[in-house]
Amino acid sequence: MPTVTIDNQEFEFEGNPILLQFCLDHDIELPHFCYHPAMSAPANCRQCLVEIGTPEIDRGTGEPRLDEDGNPVIRFFPKMMTGCSEDISDGMVVKTHRSSELVREAQKDNLEFLLINHPLDCPICDQAGNCPLQIQAYKYGPEGSRFEFRKVSKPKHIELGPRVVLDAERCINCTRCTRFTTEISESHQLTIIERSVWNYPMTPPGVDFDEPYSMNVIDICPVGALTSKDFRFKARVWEMSSTPSITIGNAKGSNCFYWVKDNLVQKVTPRTNMEVNEYWLPDEDRLDYDVFNENRPEGPTIAGQSASWDDAKTAAADLLKNVDANGIVFLGSAFACVEDNYLLGELASALGAAAPSYIQHIEPGAGDGWLITDDKTPNASGCERLGIRPLDATLLRSRIQGGDVKLLYVLQDDPVAAGICEAADLAGVSVILHHTNTTNETLVAANVALPAATVVETVGTFVNQDGHAQRVWPSKAIRGVNRTLSMEIGKSRADKHGTPFDRWFDEDHLVDCQPGWVVIPEIADLLDIELRFKGPRDIMLKVSSENEAFGGATYDAMAEPGVRLVDVGAEV
């Protein structure tokens, strides 16, 4: 196998790796700004300079020339080369800053140049603490600057579009943002204008930067030049915790981090998963986090009156006990996780009621064939795989109006808002509702309302429209104590947020809600139905072993990247 020597250490390689990427993949940190694995390499930041040599080939024999000791003679390029634009070749010898003084000096000088006109306004910059320029200047940069003149000042807080703000002074002209619009989103809305010290990225006149993926440039900008209009000045990166999870605004299940401060979600950023969303996240997935923070219920209610959890569960059990199974309709939910839907299905069958169905939320034409889908729910595929089918809305409506339905059990959805029936139609129906927000229009008709944990508060599994099963971790704490949640939050968040020992611990904004996998088994218990599991982990162990459509989807196997499930034919 061909080999390359980097800082006196030999590595084998296959194919045609790019030197910079190869180093990064092998935990050799090479400072860089403009290179991004998903885009072309313009090699314009010059930060990834290294010394590169290749074996000298004897023209006569075509063999490498050997020195007295029998080692190949290495001829170094006369100048340093950029690692991001060099393919590795057999026998190549590379010296990075770890072994070359020349490279160290070059990196330092290059940073001095990059910082000449940089405003160094880190104390008021959103990127501070999470900024490649800041980090690399600190690690590899010079002590000071020799530039004695006034720095060039460029346009500041320019709204490039409805969601992205530009601070041109901070820009180092790496062109990542313009390459994103050219090569990835292909909106062609950005370009670098003017030249030399005058240049910075901009939309051409008459164009707004309003494409549906615009906010990705904020993530890939290696400085604080592009910031989020929504998030600007809201929180410093070290005040927040970030938890790996998925977005729930559509059926793609794009991987993300939820950033939480004071038990409120502050922003959503992409998490790399080459199987799902690669490096990107559509704007709509980033801006719908208000549902986690606002209009959240304050504990359970019975007939609109606050009640304790125990009383509410007992009331729900009593309602279920006192109706004929034929009169019970269970609505699963494409918003809820597989675990909750599974338990609901088990409960229904134990009671002898019909299997749950779920309300579809499809906006035809909303999808773009990439990360935005027509389906606006995160788990329709999970429901289908559990045998939960789309609801026949007309049928249910006529059954409700005909007085056939005595009890409606709704898991995380809103039949009234979905237009299935009017709240008034439910007057004669007992309604048990797991709701996440007080804006739920079915809430007024609910006899028992059981606040449900959202994706940022629970542990659970979601299956995207391509059959990719992914689990989520709790990003923020709920009121009340649950061992599984405390354990998982401890695992997912290094800062132990949510425990009283954490210095960010904050009683405010804790929502009094509970995951379905807590509430449903307890209700079942009251009905003498055996539905106990140690936790969602065990539920998925059972589901994945019993149901082929979930084969392999255990928590351990899913971990962070998720598991691609078997194809079960037509997906939703």
Binding site: F149, R150, K151, V152, S153, K154, P155, I158, A168, T178, T181, T182, H188, Q189, L190, T191, I192, I193, E194, R195, V197, W198, Y200, M202, T203, P204, P205, G206, V207
Partner: protein, 224 residues
């Protein structure tokens, strides 16, 4: 540039300017379209021809407001943003309306050392307009530009992307302005180099003797 060093502020261009030309005006004629097709066939991809198309558009419309750049990009099926980036990169493309004659005074290294700024300031005072501005009568626009590749005959200026005027002196500028006011454009003369003609086997231009290259190398006042 001197002003810029003292007060290096780059202002935000207008994001949504009113168009200068109407939609009826914004068309390429059949002949121009044929010309564009010929250029396109000379490049591996169509957008390679953007420089030429922008040039032609500038000749036709006089300058390149955004809508003309959009038209040029459209003619090649390339993104407007990219064409705009190209157009703003080069000082030779005029993004706003200029005077009848654009005087591009070079103040890059060689010209600067040989008195480029002296020439620029002399011109500015003489015409009563700063670099980047147009005289009130609309006759002259002064621009400060980077190296135009005539360093051997520094300091120099270029007239409206056309003829060079080399080895500038104040007298030469006076004469030039007088001539331009009479609409007499100097002939294009290429660069002369101060080497010995004999060494080059006579492979020289013929107007060497007319220049001051040998006798009076211009030197910036500040360099004494």
């Amino acid at each position: 540039m001197t002003d810029f060093i003292k007060d290096p502020v780059i202002l935000m261009p207008e994001r949504h300017p009113e168009p200068v030309f109407s939609t009826e005006e914004l068309v390429f004629t059949a002949e121009e379209t044929r010309q564009i097709a010929t250029w396109v066939s000379q490049y591996p991809t169509a957008d390679g021809a953007i420089m030429k198309v922008l040039w032609m558009a500038q000749e036709k419309f006089g300058f390149l407001p955004p809508e003309v750049i959009r038209l040029s990009a459209g003619a090649l099926g390339m993104p407007y943003a990219r064409a705009f980036g190209v157009a703003t990169f080069y000082t030779q493309y005029f993004k706003s309306k200029k005077g009848r004659y654009v005087l591009d005074v070079c103040t890059c290294f060689s010209c600067q050392i040989c008195g480029g700024y002296d020439m620029l300031h002399y011109l500015e005072e003489k015409l009563g307009a700063h670099a980047g501005e147009t005289t009130d009568d609309g006759l002259f626009t002064i621009q400060e530009v980077e190296c135009l590749g005539a360093c051997g005959s520094a300091p120099m200026l270029q007239i409206t992307n056309g003829p060079y005027v080399m080895n500038l002196t104040e007298e030469k500028i006076d004469a030039l302005i007088d001539a331009l006011k009479r609409d007499q454009l100097p002939f294009f003369s290429s660069v002369t180099l101060p080497q010995d003609e004999d060494d080059l086997g006579g492979n020289r231009r013929t107007d060497v003797r007319d220049t001051l290259t040998y006798s009076a190398p211009p030197v910036a006042k500040t360099l004494g």
